[in-house]
Symmetry: C2
């Protein structure tokens, strides 16, 4: 890594950051990839960790292992705090770092529509630590329901609410319903696990807004078949510990999960450019920040309009943008003209509990079992590393035939232990 080569700093080791780093592997640049975690997470399966279907280890890989053969690339466990005012360096949790080209790929967090005080009562699902917290909460709710002698308290503990009918909310609700109906059968003595309620609240008239109406309807049918109580047109207006008001209805619930809104990571504000309503950075056609041609923003953090529509916050967009930003950096280094970005949409998929899914593949709309098989193999193929692919395939086969979810461990001492709070 000659010190004279241009230094590319990539902030974030998600789909966008990793894709950018890989595309720079053979370029005449020095690359530093920063992330506040030492691992890359396969986000589409995060809900499986939250619902005890997979281990964290199955869907995460150490970033420095993924990039170990790229001799021009250094991986650092570090958190980006802000971008220096003259845009020549970034501030980290400790110290600063100069760059010639910067790729911001720090993604989004959950957003509570101005009600940050709701967060402790309704955790969202963006990181592996979020997933472990959710896993712990819903498993603890069942444990406490077994222990309590009070039937009202027990019914509250056995009520699980998911707020938000996007793909994450639908996948969480489906998995929780499957667990209640099948997985925990025979294990409790104070109640039937099937006595639990799973409710899904959506503010809009329809769930899965990005899907066509026929697939929305198919997803609804699958959810109802699993026993999920779906409430559309039901925005949440109040939320406290073990209680919420949604669509005018007051619900006592031991576990409330948030899958309703996202906001850009706050680091974007230090760019001192106008942001959109969700805090994302509207970027130029070449993915750079207006007025700062050496700073690129990609993935969920970027707002990019194509054919009159905003691109959705999905893995495919981040991956293609990462590759494209890397290409434009190499073009700049070589003195060639940059190219505008164009997203190629290969389709979208979401899964709803056991053996049901929807797939929107352009002209082809699949639902039910065929969509689920397609979903399954596509996701296994895209996992990082042979070990993870094999582990996930085996666990899914196991779960399919036994209805078991094998990783139902309540671990971690943070947030809450076995104290009074559930």
């Amino acid at each position: 890594m000659p010190e004279t080569q241009a230094h590319v700093v990539i902030a974030g080791g998600g789909f966008g950051g990793i894709s950018a780093a890989r595309a720079l592997a053979s370029g005449a640049v020095r690359v530093t990839l920063l992330d506040r975690h030492n691992y890359h997470v396969f986000q589409p399966l995060l809900y499986q960790v939250a619902t005890a279907g997979l281990s964290p280890e199955d869907i995460a890989s150490p970033i420095r292992w993924m990039l170990r053969h790229q001799r021009n690339t250094r991986v650092l466990l570090a958190e980006l705090r802000s971008i220096g005012p003259d845009h020549g360096f970034v501030r980290l949790d400790e110290g600063e770092m100069a760059y010639d080209h910067l790729v911001l790929a720090t993604g989004v967090r959950h957003f509570y529509f101005g009600h940050d005080e709701w967060e402790p009562h309704a955790p969202g699902l963006k990181t592996l630590d979020d997933a472990l917290l959710i896993r712990k909460r819903f498993l603890l709710a069942y444990e406490r329901a077994e222990r309590t002698a009070d039937p009202v308290e027990r019914q509250r503990l056995l009520t699980f609410v998911v707020v938000g009918g996007g793909p994450t909310g639908v996948e969480l609700a489906g998995a929780l319903a499957e667990i209640a109906r099948h997985t925990l059968r025979d294990e409790f003595r104070s109640f039937e696990a099937g006595a639990s309620r799973v409710m899904l609240f959506e503010a809009a008239p329809n769930i899965l807004a990005m899907y066509p109406p026929d697939l929305q309807a198919a997803a609804e049918r699958s959810l109802r078949r699993l026993g999920v109580e779906l409430r559309k047109n039901s925005p949440v207006t109040a939320l406290g510990p073990h209680e919420l008001v949604a669509g005018g209805q007051r619900i006592a619930a031991g576990t409330i999960l948030w899958a309703a809104g996202v906001a850009a990571s706050p680091v974007a504000t230090s760019l001192a450019v106008p942001l959109d309503r969700a805090g994302r950075v509207p970027v130029e056609p070449d993915l750079s920040v207006p007025g700062h041609p050496n700073v690129y923003v990609i993935g969920d953090l970027a707002a990019f309009e194509q054919d009159g529509h905003e691109l959705p916050g999905v893995a495919q967009v981040a991956i293609q943008q990462g590759r494209h930003a890397a290409d434009n950096i190499l073009r700049s280094v070589e003195g060639r003209a940059r190219r505008p970005f164009r997203y190629r949409d290969y389709g979208n998929m979401a899964t709803i509990g056991r053996a049901a899914a929807i797939a929107d593949l352009g002209p082809l709309h699949l639902s039910g079992w065929p969509a689920w098989v397609a979903w399954l193999f596509l996701h296994i193929m895209k996992l990082v590393g042979f070990r993870n692919r094999l582990a996930v395939l085996l666990q899914w086969a196991w779960a399919y035939f036994t209805y078991q979810r094998s990783v139902r461990l309540i671990t971690g001492t943070s947030d809450e232990g076995q104290g009074n709070r559930v």
Copy 2:
């Protein structure tokens, strides 16, 4: 579960507690098993989780899943706080519970020989949370070594000390050395991973005191071959953050792990009977507590002498004692005479890094590769559940051929994040 049947309360879901519960499955008793975790841990492989070789999920199983088909048995997530003075009920973290027969199987914690202030600087390895903390610490040490520009600081961060040359200490030191030599190769840019030091301190003249001298010597050779610096006759006299004095030598070390001493869980003191030096309960030949015939103590918490020797704190002793205590309870219920306990020793095994182990099987002493193969298959066989057996077998095969340890994730927000402390 007729309310008229005798109520057996088992405290602890380790090897002893589970074995007792299973032996009561078809008895004319009601059984309640309490544990402060919702899972049973396969303790002999805990060091593999601490060293990122296996996931927590691979060696742990939900207790209520293990006992789901035992209709006379209820599993509660609860912590035993003390035993009531008239010995007819136990106090829990919330409320009390009456019993007719009590089986105490709450095990041991680490013991710092009166220096409890050492614990934050040198975590021990008894629970899954301990293992995750250790995994996080040693992985963070490497991450910080990559990031620092100070060579003295880097050498400190790359020094790993294990205190205590029993099986756990030997297994930890072997695994850490293997990681330094092989696993992390190619992944760092500021140093060669092989530059790290792994030191093992033992106060006694020999490691692995419970093994015969020829196997002790074989283990020492294996450790040295892996590059572990072994210091015998070196008791620790001082220990602080990132520093210890052992055998008169002062060592700066980024990671210090404690595998030197254990003490019985403090609940034993509430029995109001004399305890031994380590806080364990000396039990009668039938495993009951002197003066309290309906209270049994088994496993690591019990002090039991046989043929002039104290039984060691190993899984086999706990399993056999659990079965025996259950049998004596059923005999009492049926009005038959109780029987004295006698331990049958089938042998002991410990592993030292990659493809080396020692096995003491009575007249047969194995070391090196044959002992390792025996160790491997025995441990896989004894794991709970087909899923875990297959997962562990595959991961070990994978690790064997690739030198990889696939679960190198720094997770959890407790204890320390990416702050200043390593």
